[in-house]
Amino acid sequence: MSKALPVPAKRHLPSKEATLFKELLTLYETRQLKKGLKTADQILKKFPEHGETICMKGLLLTHMGRREEGIDFVKKGVKLDLTSHIVWHVFGLIQKGEKNYEEALKSYTQALRFDKENLNILRDAAQLQTQLRLFDALVETRHTLLKIRPSLRQHWIALAVAYHLNGNLSEARKTLEHYERTLKNVADYDIEHSETLLYHVRILEEMEDYSEALSLLDVNSKSRAIVDRTAIMECRARLLSKLKSDEAEHAWRALIEHNPDCYDYYRGYFSNQGLSLENSSQEALDILRQFSSQLSKATAPRRLALTIATGDEFRDLAKSYLLSGLTKGIPSLFVDVKSLYTNASKRDVIEELAEAARVEFTPSSDTPPSSAEDTDPTIYLWTLYFLAQHHSYLGRPKKALETITIALEHTPTLPEVHTCKARILKRAGDLLGAAKSVNDARLLDGQDRFLNTKCAKYLLRAGCVEEASNMLGLFTKKDAVSPGADLEDMQSLLYLMEEADAHYRNGKPNLALKKYHAVQKVFNEIEDDQYDFHGYNLRKFTLNIYMKLVKWEDQLRSHPAHVKAALSASRIYIKIHDDPSIATAITSSPQLTGAEKKAKKKAKKAAQKVQEEPKKGPTPSANEDKGLEPVQPKDDDPEGLKLIGVSDPLEQAFKLLQPLTTLVTDNIDVWTVVYDVAIRRKKYLQALQALNHARALNVEHPEVHVRSMHFRQTIDTLPEEPPAPIGPLLKEVAQKVVPEGLSILTFNGQYLQRHISEPLAVLAAAKVAHGLKEPVQEVEQVVFGVLGEGTQLDIPTALKVLEFLTEIKSGRVEEFRSVCNKQFEISTVFKPLTELEALQKRTLSGEEEEKEEDISPA
């Protein structure tokens, strides 16, 4: 940190102390915290009001883990010397450590007012500006840095990147051109230079100056300045295609030969030839045949041909593809081909082929196996495995079970067969049986973490949260507070989502909220993590990948897990808002079931551990750097009681949904939940917008229909019309939702008639009827329509219906339950609760039962 002039009187130190202060700065830079603290105290003895020294002392203390004390010192120091760049820099550092980027940038801006050319501060500020996506300011800062130190390569690149991020490609290009002209004596095989050139090519490509891009690429790949061979080939093929050059075909072909199983290369080749890889075309098929015969080991051209081929040609190709997969014993064969099932005739051909293979490979029972001519028994096994998946996928659980049972008798030692059975049972609604089957697979191979995780997931699906936790504990860190805590640290979204859902189904919305918020936290962390890359990638010149990262981070919250967690949590908040007794029941009378008692005990232990830690802390070294990030405060709400007890659940939901409204605009669920929250918050314009979005996506969607009718009803019954222009606008849309001259009820009836064979639509119509305060009998009448003939009721929908019936306190809940229980033979989810609990106990203890049966000693 260099010092600025002129020095005000109160900052001035006599030469001895001035030297000490310089020393103090170096000691901090080299993280000699204890020594630094001593030095600071030495200065303060004579000049107790010296703001910069006080700030430095505060900074040192914070690093040493005495956070609160440290921050007090820093604040005091800032007040004592408001025109020092050092105090503002220190303050900025502290705020940055707290991840409060906006405030930190403000402090840095202050610091820069008093020391305009401080490299450290400028660099940090640039990083903050990138994190906050303030690209105009970023360009400024990078410019200043370059002016101060034009000899640094990094400063040129950083400016180009700043221009690029700010959307100013031509300036970025100029900067790079200027920079390249200044270069002298670049060493051979300089990867940083190579990456910079590739970045330059990319900018030209983005500017659509393809010929310039190509010539830059060609010149520099010939001179070996660009060393990444694959990147050259890919980039070249892309550019030639865009230039519609004759060479393009050759370039793509070279790539395919380079890696014959990369689907992207085939897509590039075919789109260059003006051919589609989706629709049937003889020309494309012929080319794929050529590739298949040239590249004998590649599966990609063979698989792609299946998508294009039709009729007998498809049959031939599919036959050899399936047989080769079954012979090699490729477990993922079914997953690979199932996307072809959208075409019903292809689906039927595959079934026929697989059944034929099964007949062919079935060992003859009468003649004893004579080894020589025999086919491998494993081929038969993989064929059964394929067929079981096939039938299960097509909703034939019985047939699937029959097939997989034969496979299990044939070879009971292949984990895949057990997991397949588990999946069949899960789909058929026997969640406990599924968990047991996947556990059978797990027992075969104790070191397979995939099986362990699958097993835990299936246990969670079956509602056995504690058992799942124990299962996961076999692989998590032994010194973690709990398996769950370790998995949360490891950012396991799968675990967090599954456990949250399980808690919710088990009637513990508080614990579910807890996990959904943990998912949010994971995404916050990922967003924070990019901060370091704003500096790192520039230093390492990995620019193309960096630009990808920045784009990806901007889209981060459209990740399916984030969306699902936000929606599920919001739905819980809506429920609490509609019926506050849900929350009060949980918060006021802590139900002490066995599991909860245990959880409490665990939490207590965890808390104790956290308290014990500082005791161990100071002994190793007082000099230990604890960094500037605040220590994770201990969890004071392990049960999520505070989360569920919030006074403003709708505001919480609104906050969660906010990022989704710009990032995930094509998701109907997002808009319906946004609507639900907005209309309850009486933000009618927001509700209207959400509804319009949803209706634009699919006006007939059951959930959208429910909202449309709700909107009309709400607007019709508003006690007071909101002022213009909102009021008339709401009226207008509300009128549009239901055609003129029809009542909501009639319109709803028409909707029901239109979709009478769609269970979800029937349920929607029932919900609307209920919303209109129709008598319960009427509503029940409607909803039981899902059991009608010609309606394809599936288990998830049936469960939704059951939930709705329970919600409206229908007297026919049990009736519906028992009908479903009969209709879904294999399922257990429709069994009465008491029976289910007994079943759970039996299944879980059954595992232990098998263990013992000693042979009697002689």
Binding site: A372, T375, D854
Partner: protein, 227 residues
């Protein structure tokens, strides 16, 4: 721990023509023979504490018919606490008897690593062979407790390969030297007896009432002296 190379290509002659029903090969010991103590020599325990599965693929041409030339992979793996579940599963379908925990702990002992194996066919575990070491009159003997292959995978010389592998390991072991290998075969199980005789075993006697729960109760004692 040294994982010995399990290269038995040179030793195994694929005897495709001789149909051996190895389900009958399953010989079942119900209890430790009276007078025989399981070896618990500490010096033997010193060298091997880590259980590393060592799978060495052994490729055998399964077909003499050139038109159906297919390469099937046969390989063996040592037993570990993690794959013990597979052994349990195999035992439960192969043998009419439930084995005790003692059995499963025994097969994990480091000194029997070379004598207890899982048999893989095309990467699927389809059989096991398990022995224990016994000391009698200052003599170390290998007792073959179980051996079996799942029904669909029989007559592919898997049993022979496994047995030859064990025999080779037993011969190769120097400290302590193993004098002979023996086993019990139920007196109804002629196929099994023939199978072992083909591998150089000789009948040395009949153990009356060896099996308590299955009939016939008597068992042949088959033995092979190792040189």
């Amino acid at each position: 721990m040294n994982s010995r190379a399990l290269d038995i290509r040179s030793r195994v002659v694929p005897d495709a023509l001789v149909a051996v029903h190895s389900d009958e090969v399953a010989n079942v010991s119900e209890e430790v023979l009276p007078g025989v103590t399981g070896i618990r020599d500490e010096t033997n325990l010193v060298f091997g504490t880590s259980f590393r599965p060592s799978v060495t693929p052994v490729t055998t041409n399964m077909s003499s018919n050139p038109s159906t030339q297919k390469i099937s992979r046969v390989s063996f793996a040592s037993l570990t606490p993690n794959n013990l579940g597979t052994v349990r599963k195999l035992n439960s379908v192969l043998f009419p008897i439930k084995y005790s925990e003692k059995f499963y702990q025994g097969v994990l002992l480091p000194e029997v690593e070379d004598f207890c194996k899982l048999i893989y066919y095309n990467d699927v575990p389809v059989g096991t062979i398990c022995c224990r070491l016994e000391t009698k009159d200052d003599e170390i003997r290998l007792y073959l407790m179980t051996m079996g292959v799942l029904a669909p995978y029989r007559s592919r010389s898997l049993g022979s390969q496994a047995l030859e592998l064990i025999l080779a390991s037993a011969v190769a072991q120097r400290k302590p030297k193993i004098s002979k290998i023996y086993l019990h075969v139920q007196v109804s199980n002629h196929g099994a007896k023939k199978f072992y005789e083909r591998h150089g075993f000789k009948e040395v006697g009949v153990h009356e009432n060896y099996y308590k729960k299955i009939t016939p109760h008597d068992a042949w004692i088959l033995e092979k002296t190792l040189s």
